[in-house]
């Protein structure tokens, strides 16, 4: 159902683009995300947000420290965690139909494809089930990616700037849809975003990261209940506070 996430003293460095040295992106970083919590990571470009997400997704390994993602079923028993990821770009198989793109993820998670059509209808793509992704707009493609992330019944949902490539109107509509998918509070999530207002609208907790190597310089708890509105006072207040902290 949901995952318990811990980063314990994590170091991560990459070869420097110039000079032949290394760039230390993370150094002795520790953080905890409790089951059912949606945490937003906010910070300047290149501060290490996506590296944290890649470590959680298993796409990178830490140089030192531990990354722990523990899954938990409805009875509270431990299980291997299932991941749902929404990337910055939708990363769809252009040669597979919209339905197939989502069904492949469902089958790979051992869930069968029974809920695929409903999942796509839930994100407003009921009329596009047999379409190829190349026929869809950017917003529609990202909705396919959201349906794919949620069809796998994820313990942990990772969202890597999922709306940054979209126009603001489409992004706003998708944020509302994402919030609806989060209403039952049954899964853990990490949202990487540049957008403080998006973080305040969607997250339970916001971690503001400083410059490299990344460290948590601010932490904000969002107390507003869901469903929220992007115009809620607390969302505005937090937005202003985060921007002031980043400035």
């Amino acid at each position: 159902m949901s995952a318990h996430v811990r980063l314990e003293g994590v170091d991560k460095a990459f070869p420097a683009r110039r000079g032949g040295g290394v760039e230390q992106v993370l150094q002795d970083l520790s953080l905890e995300i409790r089951p059912g919590e949606l945490v937003a990571l906010v910070g300047a470009s290149g501060c290490g947000k996506t590296t944290i997400l890649n470590l959680l997704a298993g796409l990178e390994r830490p140089d030192a420290g531990r990354v722990v993602v523990e899954g938990e079923d409805e009875g509270g028993a431990a299980r291997a965690p299932r991941l749902g990821v929404v990337f910055q770009q939708p990363r769809l198989l252009d040669w597979a139909t919209v339905r197939d793109n989502v069904a492949l993820a469902a089958r790979s998670a051992g869930l069968g494809a029974d809920g695929v059509d409903d999942a796509l209808r839930d994100v407003g793509l009921g009329d596009h089930l047999d379409a190829f992704p190349t026929t869809l707009s950017g917003g529609q493609r990202q909705r396919v990616a959201i349906a794919r992330a949620f069809i796998v019944d994820p313990d942990l949902v990772l969202l890597d700037e999922p709306f940054s490539a979209l126009d603001e109107l489409t992004a706003r509509r998708l944020r509302l849809q994402l919030q609806r998918l989060w209403l039952d509070g049954s899964r853990t999530g990490v949202l990487v975003t540049h957008n403080p207002q998006e973080a305040a609208f969607l997250a339970d907790r916001i971690l503001v990261l400083g410059r490299r190597p990344a460290e948590i310089v601010e932490e904000h708890v969002v107390r507003a209940r869901r469903p929220r509105s992007p115009e809620d006072d607390e969302v505005f207040r937090l937005h202003a506070s985060i921007v002031a902290g980043l400035a």
Binding site: L59, E74, F87, W95, L111, D118, V123, G124, A131, T170
Partner: protein, 282 residues
Amino acid sequence: MSTRPTASAGASFPVRRPAGSGRSPRPGRRGIAPETILGPLLLVGLVVGGWHVMASTSDSTLLPGLGEIGDAIGRIVGDGAASTLWVTVVRVLLGFTLAFVAAIAAGLLMARSRWARAILEPAVLIGLTVPGLVWALLAVIWFGLAQTGPVLAVALSAAPPLVLNVYQGAKAVDPGLIEMAHVFRFDRRTRLTRLWLPALVPFLLSGARLGLSLSWKVIVLVEMFGASEGVGYELNTAFSDQDVAAVLAWTIVFGVVMVLIEYGILRTVERRVTRWRKAAIV
């Protein structure tokens, strides 16, 4: 372990669709452009007309007239050209299939492993430079003129360009898709059949065309070296008889088979597996 399909379990909610959105456009059947038919017909007309002018003005036995060539075609078709062609086509298809499967494995391995690339890349480059004649000779010397020799000669000549194409195609696959397959835990078979192979299709088709064209050349050489059947054997017999009309007749019949394979198989496969490309982008 929960088996709840999450998204379907969540409450459905109304969604405003973007203005103007409705059912997705599907690729429709487009009319055939006139040049698609008229172009090849024009080429055939020019070649036949040019040949007719040359043959009728030279009065040489080395340039048989259209009537003679037509008679030769009729004769070889009447004498069972189909079975002769079948022998050659089967050898090519077996050799090409062997090369195709090996090339996919080797090309993907080269793209995914630096060691495999370091070992196989020189072999592929050398393979590309070896003349088809050499493969034909070696295959006949080592494996004789039963089925194994011709099939291996075809496979050895077709494999290098195919491997190179698969390797280049695999390198061009979006790394983001590979990461996506990893996080959604696609199994090995799903990755191969739903990610790698569809992504490689354009490269496989261009490799297949190049590989097949080399295969036809090599198989004719192998059959000319002493086979007792096949198009190469028939061409050798016609050459020994100084029967230019029969050489040209076999060449034309062979060419027709090539065209049928190109338009009947390769283009049909290409249309089917790349139909998503023809869909309009919003």
